[in-house]
């Protein structure tokens, strides 16, 4: 589990491409595709640089009209999911 002090960053070898306001990415080894909704796409963009969960939430709150609680929840769920799919590295 990712705790709030750990900085995470996306795996370098992943290929990703923006299609309008969504991102589609691919794991070259497994050939698996992943599609991200607009909010997840924004998180993914931010993860080009290492971020902690709190840093992500802080930035997203400035861009999206959501409460801190909802935002924290959504970020945590997304991070958990991409950790499980091995799409990020611990920086």
């Amino acid at each position: 589990m990712i705790n709030e002090n750990i900085k995470i960053v996306r795996k370098k070898e992943l290929l990703s491409s923006r299609m309008d306001n969504e991102i589609v990415m691919m794991h070259p080894e497994s050939g698996k595709y992943f599609a991200l909704n607009p909010v997840a796409s924004r998180i993914w963009e931010l993860l080009e640089e290492p971020h902690t969960i709190n840093e992500l939430v802080e930035k997203l709150l400035r861009e999206f009209d959501v409460t801190e609680e909802t935002c924290t929840n959504e970020v945590s769920v997304f991070i958990e999911e991409i950790t499980e799919k091995k799409l990020i590295d611990i920086s």
Binding site: L15, S17, M19, D20, V24, M26, P28, S30, G31, Y33
Partner: protein
Amino acid sequence: MNTINTYTAFGLIFSSEIEIPEFLPAIGEAQVSITLGNVPANISGNLTEGFRFQISKNEFIIRFKPWASFYVCNGDKIIIEPEQDSDERDVRVFLISSVIAILLHQRGLLPLHASGIKVNNKAVLFSANSGIGKSTISLALNRKYGYPLIADDITVISEKEGRPIVHSSFPSAKLWQESVDLLGISNEGLQYIRKDVFKYRYDNRPDFFNGILDPLIVFVLENTDDEIVEINEVKGIEKFNVLRAHIFRLRMVNELYASEHFKLISNLLNCAKCYKILRPKNGNSLDELCSVVQSAILK
């Protein structure tokens, strides 16, 4: 020793021991050799086997019994082993579709199941499964608005300095009698594509553009039970999925070239619009279809 013919198709130069009258004759150093010879029994290394074929990242064997076997390797070599008494048209039909498609995959290119036309120096493509009317729509637009033809069944996408490039294929279409009738083409003198397949080979040399183009639009055609033609722009991830589904012979190559496909499709879609067109399965909607496409092109 057989005579060597030199042709161009899909942006490549081929030297071939068999005649391929569908391709354009060319001069220059060949990047791909097509020879007659023995097809190996098996390929080595990490391979996948399917119905009558074996494939790895750099090698491919397929046996179309009782016509011919083919071996394709490293994106630059095709060996044909025809069966005794096989008709050369039968051999060619396999060669210039499935077999060459695998060669294109091996070269890291993206062969799309699409026909295409040239509109103001850009490429407009029509992607669809077989039998939906790819060839017919391109030819109809050529007849109606004078757009040159660039491909009938396979369109190749490559990239240069991060920009997508569309390559023309060869000046020949495959048409069922129904399409010949719809387009008002005389079937006098037309040959069947194969000995026992009653689809015509239609040479469209005078209307063909040979070369490379920037992409403009990809139309994906699908059938509908409704009675009107419907058009919708495809956006976001669906755009990616829709196009990936129309990679030529994707079921054979599966994930072997997934990274190459990913990059080329992403590149293409960053520069081209994508529309899905639903066309009525029954009746003649060709004129309506042409108008819908033409207005999307002019938009």
